[in-house]
Subunit: 330 residues, 2 copies
């Protein structure tokens, strides 16, 4: 498998992305910095949580890197791929979330992950070596691998410019996967994002989406890896552009209250629906790292309904329902 | 079934309890009152949500009454009793939660419910008639019924007096079920309460417990119904006594912050673990009524650890781990 789907390059990229992101967010913030140590585990596993709290621009931001190496994949992790249970696997991921202070700056989320399992039980060499395991790709061969992830934006107040810029970045990243048909790739991944970041109990989208992908192993490893790098780079640039555009927008108690109430929806989604959060907590993951995705201050108000014609109502009416933002830009 | 397990008396009691409670809480508050309408449904179903918000003593309190009558029990509701699927049923319940403003006043929760299903598909007569359905009790007969519920307390700051008074009330209610062996009833229901109100992902109890029971149909209907009435009455008296004792306790930013952080645990429990909340949301219940159980203002802080020797640490050390409060009182 090492020749077909090496973990080294993607691991290096994700560690570098985490570092660039922490630097860029801290620079943007100007007050607070990211903190956190390194936790090493068996076979070269590494967990590197980084959390910034109480900043001027960001009330909280978390960027977690993790590289998990296990000799045996637990059955709970392989519902969709029962043939992998008991086999050696490793996974590398970065998960980013930022909860800005200013209600005009959207909350953002990005996750990038790579998973590979060796169906022949070959010895894993550990994290340091860059390329580990052996076998061929795909369920029919000696092992399997895939990429997953995406990014999505949760504004409190809607701006068409922001939405268009965000989805342009998503589209641009898709060119790396299929430059002949980026439109189709983007359309599929945008629809998957809208479907995933949805609160069924409220019949309400979480935000304005972006792209979401899982089980990605086509057309080949090199293209997938290049695509994931593009997703990471575009995410960082597109979000920073929005932060810079909105961070000094004046706001008052009304906007702050709406932000706190909308954050409540974020908590509901993460605790009730998000697969990563629920799986992490159920499998005994580090609680504080997993729940660093939650907003710092949150409010629930019984029966809140935005005023007709208000900016708050426009969010629900014009921004949350899935839209073709790129068509709007043309 | 009507002769064996009538729904009328328990329905009347729960409606009266809700009214007494709303009056007592509003009187205690002095500023805010409970609001909400009546929603009627098929076959005499009634939902009566009552929510108080922004009071002087209570930031939020909710007391929901509901009487559900259905011709066919959904399969999802009968995991443990598959033989009831498709049969007529009705359920009556009151659910109470209060989130006080002063951090020295504990958050409280009480739920009382009665369920009966007619395994012979007899016609239900609707809610107004007091006694409906027909058949005999128990799975071997024409129908089945049971009571469930309990009450539990979630203090932010621990006081032995409050804990002892609370558990004495729980013990006193248990006498109504078995006056010869109230100790054993209380011990079992206290242990069930400690087991249920527990956050497995944090390995942390939610509060100092109380009593919890489900599937209660022994020794007979009359005893069970009398017990449930005692639970409701003792709950109201015991909680009001604590509110009155603590409501004017001076507090500052430190206590408020700790209260907000602890409320985060309450949200985690309700959204991640509470069966009633999860089942209600999954089955398309009224979101705003179900989530009226959440605290109004909440905070998450990454890696919070209370100061050694502080009152906050004492909560974790001396109050949250299950204790025999009645032994302490002797």
């Amino acid at each position: 498998m090492s020749n077909v789907a090496p973990i080294g390059p993607i691991r290096t990229y994700l560690l570098d992305l985490q570092e660039r992101l922490c630097r860029a967010f801290a620079d943007e913030d100007g007050v607070a910095t990211f903190e956190g140590g390194d936790h090493t585990g068996p076979h070269g596993s590494l967990s590197r949580p980084r959390v910034l709290e109480g900043g001027a621009v960001f009330e909280r931001a978390a960027a977690q890197f993790s590289h998990t190496v296990r000799r045996q994949l637990p059955a709970a992790a392989t519902d969709r791929r029962p043939y992998l249970a008991g086999h050696a696997y490793e996974a590398v991921s970065v998960s980013v979330i930022a909860h800005p202070r200013n209600p005009y700056v959207p909350t953002v989320h990005c996750n990038l992950r790579f998973f590979r399992a060796d169906a022949q039980g070959a010895q894993l060499e550990g994290a340091g070596s860059g390329e580990v395991g052996s076998g061929t790709a795909g369920p029919g061969g000696g092992g399997t691998w895939w990429f997953g992830g995406g990014f999505d934006l949760t504004p409190y107040y809607g701006f068409e410019d922001d939405a268009i810029g965000w989805h342009r970045a998503a589209h641009a990243a898709c060119s790396a996967l299929d430059d002949g048909d980026a439109d189709a790739v983007y359309a599929r991944m945008k629809a998957d994002c809208d479907a995933y970041f949805f609160l069924p109990h409220r019949q309400e989208p979480r935000g304005i989406g972006g792209i979401f992908f899982d089980d990605l192993d086509q057309p080949d490893y090199a293209r997938c890896a290049a695509f994931v790098r593009q997703v990471g780079d575009h995410f960082l640039d597109a979000y920073l552009a929005i932060v810079r555009r909105r961070r000094d927008h004046a706001y008052g108690e009304r906007e702050r209250t709406f932000q706190l109430l909308r954050r409540g929806r974020y908590v509901e989604f993460n605790l009730l629906h998000d697969r990563g959060t629920r799986f992490g907590l159920q499998s005994g993951g580090a609680v504080e790292s997993i729940l660093a995705s939650l907003p710092p201050d949150v409010r629930w108000q019984h029966g809140f309904v935005p005023e007709p014609g208000s900016a708050e109502e426009r969010l629900f009416r014009d921004f949350l329902p899935p839209r073709d933002w790129l068509a709007l830009a043309r």
